[in-house]
């Protein structure tokens, strides 16, 4: 029988001589037939509001092009989060994508999961009827049409170019970071700080290498794998910077 009170009770016994002094003491949305254009906007908004998780969110959409067991998706997100502390639980990322309209929870047959609600089991014990919780039907995530469109439209190099435009004065810093991180082991943030934090460009306004690492990570030019490493996009990014600076 449940008591629900395993050391989690608000009241306590008063000691006999301790009479009075011891008393001192992102929202769910309704589902509906949303306008596809609005859905894409909502997905875009979600990605904009979570810039540090851009890559992770995209990888979820990508992995669910074919419907995928929720447990498998969660496992792969947990794997990514192993090296990236997050206040969000793996399932929360999927829920946020679902709320934005980019993911849909479906059954094994591909029908909407919301329509497949499990009902409790009625059991009889000692002549009395009881309800017991049922096992929920197996759930899968699948990327929606809008999610696919967003995924296809995403261009990390374009995001890299946007950042170049906004950060012209810091191009040498981006270049140095991408070159330093092009080795096999990658670089720690401390190593990058030692190499760059005294650079005259970063003195006024005072900035640190960490900021630029974050920007590069958001456009997939850097990735963390026991060290910051330059990705393929990062290598293309180096060429972009060179071309950009040459052409003004």
């Amino acid at each position: 029988m449940l008591t629900g009170l395993k050391g989690e009770d608000p009241l306590d016994l008063l000691d006999a001589d301790d009479e009075h002094e011891s008393l001192n003491d992102p929202l769910l949305q309704d589902e509906g037939a949303a306008d596809p254009a609005t859905v894409v906007d909502t997905v875009t908004e979600l990605f904009k509001s979570m810039p540090t998780y851009h890559k992770l969110l995209l990888s979820i959409l990508e992995s669910c092009i074919e419907k995928q067991r929720i447990s498998v998706v969660i496992e792969s997100i947990d794997e990514v989060l192993r090296n990236n502390f997050s206040v969000y639980k793996a399932a929360r990322f999927c829920e946020l994508l679902e709320q934005a309209g980019a993911l849909l929870k479906v059954t094994e047959e591909g029908t909407q999961y919301a329509d497949a609600k499990a009902q409790p089991i009625l059991v009889e014990e000692d002549g009395l009827e009881y309800f017991k919780a049922n096992e929920p039907p197996e759930a899968f995530w699948v990327t929606t049409e809008e999610g696919r469109r967003f995924l296809e439209a995403d261009d990390p190099l374009e995001r890299f170019r946007d950042n170049l435009e906004n950060e012209r004065v810091y191009h040498p810093i981006f270049t140095q970071i991408l070159l330093l991180c092009s080795n096999e082991k990658g670089r720690s943030i401390e190593e990058l700080g030692d190499a760059l934090d005294d650079d005259p460009i970063l003195q006024k306004p005072r900035m640190y290498a960490r900021r630029f690492v974050e920007i590069l990570e958001r456009c997939d030019a850097l990735t963390w794998d026991k060290g910051w490493k330059t990705t393929g996009i990062g290598q293309l990014g180096l060429e972009e910077i060179e071309r950009y600076d040459k052409n003004g």
Binding site: D12, D25, A91, K117, Y130, K132
Partner: protein, 239 residues
């Protein structure tokens, strides 16, 4: 006179049969368990251990009280559909239902008696002073780590849980006078406090809660307190 009233008369006349006494003890133990369970529901968000316990439990299907039945059914239906993010979903709903994000006194179902019984929906009003005095008389104080006020519904439900357990203890020792006195205290506390204000709370819970889980809790609270009030009234009703 009902069966239960006869049993209590027997307690008072100190002529209780052992089997009847045991039946009464069992009934009061069940009441204690339900008070304990309800207290936990309102105490804080559901954690993994509590969710596992709820998932494994069985819930009466036909108690005779439609609100209790509806409450259990909603809760067990929610439990039949939990998934990886249910704990987070329940935590969000707990906050939306009982804490809210608005700045006025109407933005959530605030689980404090003072809010529902004071003119301007304020905390720490007369109701809190009254229940505090009752806890002290019973030798109880709030846990120092718990920062809510004493008229929080979880504390009031736990007070009933403790009184029920003390009644069981008294009956088991054959102390009928003490058991009688404790049952009187329970009826008084329900009449003056818990049963007097919780319908206002549960009505607001139905407005704010978004999950079947907390919707069910509102119905279960209503139905159980109604049933328990009738049970206690029945005991003391004159022929």
């Amino acid at each position: 006179m009902t069966k239960m009233a006869k049993k209590m008369r027997a307690v008072r006349s100190k002529a209780l049969l052992t089997a009847e006494q045991q039946e009464l003890i069992n009934l009061i133990e069940q009441r204690a368990a339900t008070y304990g369970l309800l207290s936990r529901f309102y105490y804080k968000e559901v954690d993994q251990d509590f969710l596992n316990e709820l998932k494994e439990a069985r819930y009466p299907a036909n108690t005779g009280n439609p609100s209790v039945d509806k409450g259990y059914l909603l809760i067990v239906t929610y439990l039949s559909n939990i998934w990886e993010n249910s704990l987070n979903e329940l935590a969000v709903d707990f906050v939306k239902t009982f804490i809210g994000s608005g700045s006025d006194a109407y933005s959530a179902a605030f689980p404090f008696e003072s809010v529902h019984t004071s003119e301007r929906r304020l905390l720490m009003q007369d109701a809190r002073d009254e229940v505090l005095a009752q806890y002290r008389r019973a030798g109880l104080a709030k846990q120092s780590l718990w920062k809510e006020s004493e008229d929080h519904i979880s504390a009031e439900l736990e007070y009933m849980f403790i009184l029920c357990n003390r009644t069981v203890e008294a009956l088991s020792k054959g102390d009928e006078d003490e058991a009688y006195s404790l049952l009187v205290s329970q009826l008084d506390f329900l009449t003056d406090h818990l049963y007097a204000w919780t319908p206002m709370l549960t009505s607001e819970m139905r407005r704010f809660a978004q999950t079947d889980f907390y919707q069910g809790l509102a119905w279960l609270t209503d139905g159980f307190l109604e049933t328990d009030f009738e049970f206690l009234e029945d005991i003391f009703r004159e022929e």
